[in-house]
């Protein structure tokens, strides 16, 4: 009996001690200082990067803060798929950021809702010249909607083929004779697949996908820029989806899904399956160059623009997405926000801007940044990045469709691709469905009073 009472007393003492220590830790831990430069005008900057990337962004913000004495940029990481929603609630609640880095696909919808400041209103004549005349057309246009500039890039993304040279050697293939057509890449992929005893993939040679992106290699993608309207049911899109479906059928859809969904998500921390050797040739973005430099500096690899198909193909094509700076209409400190954009994007000191882009391995606004000593030195260290620069300057590298319902369109394109490669519908039926669904949505939008 006495033992039981003693046991209970000890348990109570331990519990109270844990509570005291826990509460003490909570209350005594010093809170981080709110402001490093309390005398300056605060510029609140929201961005979508997390983890190591957030640290890169914080360093860039600090470099800006040290470069002048008027403003203090205070970065805040708002990562994840809900960043747009958080931004919106900030705006409705009357407490938006002064500047935010946003996925450019969200720009048309927000600009159409009068949520964003037309940036021309903040640009000096020299800024306007830089933006409208000296930037990469594809990047400039990716931040524009209905003729006005709403977003300026601080790091655009493009995709190309990453090729593992050691895998090629092992299969008796020479990277110097890399195929000039997408059909050739598919053939090489077949030679690079590896299977286990049960016939499951244990290495994926190459898998075609990303209908939205790769359709530019076959034609004009899903938007006709001359006619300024969507172009879904065109023969080139059908050729693209058929090629994707046929290739996936040949490898075995279930095998690819099983293998790919078992891979590491590759969340920018060296866990990318290309680095771990699970993929031989894969389509991915330019930021991976920096990732390989950090986590696998000795890896022998090449970056090669996606080659066009044998017939009616477009070399050096693709579509740009990425992080674009926007300033909300209701921002309190627009001048400070624009000054920070100028610093990072390449309107002011080009060398400082090049350093910002190089920190994250991002694509710049203007060729003038690429021509700087800083950028050139970085390119010499990372020669594979040049492939992306060559695509960026190509006239067949196009912005995403400038439509306010882009999220809906992208969801539907992804859905069509998924249904076709699973064999639920034929590629033609998938595109017909896509066309029907988009038309139906547009009809509804018109009826509800939307302009487009």
């Amino acid at each position: 009996m006495a033992d039981k009472t003693l046991g209970k007393t000890i348990a109570r003492v331990i519990l109270v001690a844990i509570l005291v220590v826990g509460l003490g830790w909570m209350f005594l831990t010093p809170t981080p200082k709110d402001r490093k430069y309390p005398d300056r005008i605060p510029v609140r900057f929201w961005h979508r990067w997390g983890g190591e990337w957030a640290e890169v962004v914080a360093r860039i913000a600090e470099r800006y803060n040290q470069s002048q004495t008027k403003y203090e940029v205070i970065p805040l990481s708002v990562p994840g798929a809900t960043a747009d929603a958080k931004f919106m609630t900030g705006v409705i609640g009357g407490d938006p950021p002064d500047v935010m880095s946003m996925w450019n696909g969200a720009i048309p919808n927000m600009a159409a809702s009068n949520l964003l400041t037309p940036l021309e209103t903040l640009m000096s004549p020299a800024d306007k010249k830089r933006f409208f005349e000296e930037s990469y057309p594809v990047i400039r246009d990716s931040g524009m909607f209905r003729g006005k500039a709403y977003g300026v890039t601080i790091g655009s993304d493009l995709s190309a083929l990453y090729v593992n040279v050691d895998h090629l050697k092992e299969a008796g293939l020479d990277v110097e004779n890399f195929p000039k057509t997408i059909e050739g890449v598919i053939e090489w992929g077949e030679k690079l697949h590896r299977y286990d005893k049960q016939g499951n993939l244990r290495r994926l040679g190459f898998s075609m996908g990303y209908l939205d992106f790769i359709s530019h290699s076959y034609g004009t993608g899903f938007y006709d820029r001359k006619a300024e309207k969507l172009s879904i049911l065109n023969p080139d899109n059908l050729r693209t989806l058929t090629a994707i479906t046929e290739q996936r059928k040949r490898v075995g859809y279930d095998k690819v899904v099983r293998f790919v969904s078992g891979l590491n998500t590759g969340s920018d921390t060296g866990g990318w399956p290309f680095i771990s050797g699970d993929l031989s040739i894969t389509i991915d973005g330019q930021w991976r160059v920096e990732e390989i430099r950090k986590y696998a500096p000795k890896m022998d690899y090449r970056v090669i623009p996606i080659p066009p198909p044998k017939e009616r193909g477009t070399p050096l094509s693709g579509t740009v997405s990425g992080n674009f700076m926007i300033i909300p209409t209701s921002a309190r400190q627009k001048e400070g926000a624009w000054d920070f954009i100028r610093f990072w994007s390449g309107f002011g000191d080009l060398e400082a801007s090049a350093q910002c882009y190089n920190d994250g391995g991002w694509l710049p606004l203007t060729p003038k940044v690429v021509e700087t000593k800083t950028f050139e030195a970085w390119l010499n260290e990372n020669p594979q990045f040049r492939a992306f620069i060559s695509i960026l300057g190509s006239p067949t590298c196009r912005p995403m469709p400038p439509v306010p319902y882009l999220h809906f369109l992208n969801d539907q394109i992804g859905r069509a691709e998924d249904r076709a490669v699973r064999g639920t519908v034929t590629p033609e039926e998938a595109l017909n469905e896509l066309e029907r669904n988009v038309k139906e949505e547009l009809r509804k939008r018109k009826e509800l009073g939307y302009r487009d």
């Binding site: 798929a81 919106m88 949520l115 279930d254 969904s261 078992g262 319902y405 809906f408 509804k444 509800l448």
Partner: protein, 292 residues
Amino acid sequence: MNKFKENLVGWAFISPWVIGFLIFTAFPFLQSIYLSFTRYDIISAPQWVGLANYRMLLFEDELFWKSAAVTIRYAIISVPLLVVAGVALAILLNNEVKGIAIYRTIFYLPSIVPTVASSVVFLWILNPTTGLVNNVLRTMGIQGPAWLNDPTWAFYSLIMMSVWHVGGSMVIYLAGLKDIPAYLYEAATIDGARPWQKLRHVTIPMMTPVIFFNLVMGVIGAFQYFTQAYVMTPNGGPQDSTLFYSLYLFRRAWKYLDMGYASAMAWVLFLVIVVMTAAVFRTQKKWVHYGG
């Protein structure tokens, strides 16, 4: 103190809650009725569109019906499954064996793990190549499916995960079991009832008020099912197999900025839940026993 003053003091005491309720619950609730008849992108002022949102979603939106079907199917399968699993587990854990408190804690623990955290754990468990489930199946010579990437299995993966959270209702069932008077079992024993007969004629009838409570809460929860589907299959799963109603509603509201349409969807969901709950309440006279 006269009656008026007494009332005033009472209202003053509950005023923080009343004000909070009026501002953060009642007002948005009523406001959303109005918004459901408008085109509203959250930024611009709402534009009146009459019944257009309701007409479009009921008669012209394929995904509305698809998502409703997925949700109803989930409710039909998961709610009875959770009731049966919860009652069975509670009966097992009602035995006074050594270490029973530890067993109860183990079964209860999953229900207090944050949903997002447990969803991420399940993403790993259901990984077709490296996941625990397929590795166990592999030792038995079975090739497991691609789970969340397989249109047939993605839905059942989420059902499986919901059963993992049964601990919360299990505790309520266990409390219900403890409340059953011992004399009923003694009388049944004297009458020669066997264990199965005691379960059938004493335990389950006496548990019906608790089962009823969990059934109502389960139906409401099933129709509002969102978090796990959002974390594990944010795009609605392969072939829309896990496009739950709330997931589609969220997409319409926050991705497409179609708040009017989403409000209409929310009201349809609210009415369906009211009807379903009322239907369950109407049946209680036939099967719920409140007598001690």
